[in-house]
């Protein structure tokens, strides 16, 4: 907590110099693409306010005046205030990496949990596109690793389809051992390279 305070104090010095002519400053919390809403805290020298509901807004007069109590904005008000900026936001893309056991199409225990995030997100992006790319470590031949990568990706596709995701939106490919996350010499069984990468856009 103390450490936090010190970091902030340092930044305020810079801010005081730039905040000379602020008129109306506003922070609005927006819903995430998956429909959930996060939480933000607006903090300055005067105090802080927490926002945790969609389209709640807080006005801040200056770096030394506490942020004002949050107000609820309507969606059309947010569009009016931020329309041109919202339109400039690039399309949403999510990347996931799931790891595999050695020379196998079995996921590591930690990676199984990421599946739930993916299954929760996909239905909320409409229309969604999913790319699954299989990768391997460098143990074995280039050809056998290409096949293992493809097996991992195809098996992942089947898993997602079995959980209710439309198979027509899923594209599967393999990079074999040629696109490692961690560069190694040949025949090294680096666990971080045994993976599928899933891109949802």
């Amino acid at each position: 907590m103390l450490k936090h305070g010190r970091i902030f104090a340092l930044i305020y010095i810079i801010m005081l110099l730039t905040a000379c002519c602020a008129k109306k400053n506003l922070v609005v919390l927006l819903p995430d693409p998956d429909g959930k809403t996060g939480r933000i805290e607006v903090i300055n020298q005067g105090g802080s306010q927490t926002l945790n509901e969609p389209n709640k807004a807080v006005a801040v007069k200056s770096s030394q005046t506490a942020p004002e109590p949050p107000v609820q904005l309507r969606e059309d008000q947010v569009k009016k205030l931020f329309g041109e900026t919202l339109n400039a936001l690039p399309p949403f893309v999510a990347h996931y990496i799931l790891y595999y056991k050695k020379d196998s199409t079995d996921l590591t225990e930690g990676s199984e949990r990421i599946l739930d995030d993916i299954l929760g997100l996909v239905p909320k992006i409409n229309p969604a596109e999913i790319s699954i790319i299989g990768h391997t470590d460098r143990v074995g031949t280039i050809e056998s690793n290409f096949r293992l990568g493809l097996d991992r990706a195809s098996q992942m596709k089947h898993l997602l389809v079995s959980k209710g995701i439309n198979e027509n939106i899923i594209d599967v490919s393999s990079h074999g051992e040629n696109n490692p996350l961690v560069r190694t010499a040949d025949e090294v069984d680096e666990p971080k390279n045994r993976r599928v990468e899933i891109v949802i856009r």
Binding site: T18, A22, K23, R39, I40, V42, S63, T85
Partner: protein, 162 residues
């Protein structure tokens, strides 16, 4: 005889030390060189006039222009700029906006995760990426009137004047 052996091993040892230092130094220089030039994101959308200021050099931003650490992103009147960073963070700048990507460390394999964005003026829409999701305590967004602490989130900010 004994003395000679001793001298030889001393020589070997000092040679080893020098070698170690050379390796360390070269590792340090390559590391800092890649860190400075590392691409951390790309321009994805543009309207009107958008600039990237890098080490006092002003460049016009184009679709797919690279973004490096400490780049200052600037937009003019009736302009906008949309960027995506390597951890899937999405940022949009509205007109008359200025934002600096001060810090961006994205090496989940090594546990190095940090992002620090400094907004100087204008309007920004921010959609947090993997860094803020995994490490909210090292994710910061500062404005001239206060800091916004992230908890895995999408928000919009507007700072007038300046």
């Amino acid at each position: 005889m004994k003395k000679i052996i001793h001298q030889k091993s001393f020589k070997e040892a000092s040679l080893k030390t020098i070698l170690c230092w050379l390796i360390l130094l070269s590792a340090f220089f390559t590391a800092s060189a890649t860190a400075a030039d590392e691409v951390i994101g790309y321009v994805k959308t543009i309207k009107g006039n958008a600039l990237i200021v890098r080490e006092n050099k002003v460049m016009t931003a184009h679709i797919n222009s690279s973004i490096l650490r400490n780049d200052i992103l600037k937009t003019g009147a009736n302009s906008s700029l949309g960027i995506s960073l390597k951890d899937d963070t999405l940022i949009a700048l509205g007109s008359n906006t200025e934002l600096v990507v001060s810090k961006f460390n994205f090496s989940p394999a090594e546990g190095k995760l940090a992002i620090f964005l400094k907004m100087l003026r204008g309007s920004v829409v921010y959609l947090s990426g993997i860094i803020s999701k995994l490490s909210p305590e090292t994710s910061r967004f500062s404005t001239p009137v206060g800091d916004i602490c992230l908890r895995g989130t999408h928000f919009a900010v507007r700072v007038e004047g300046g």
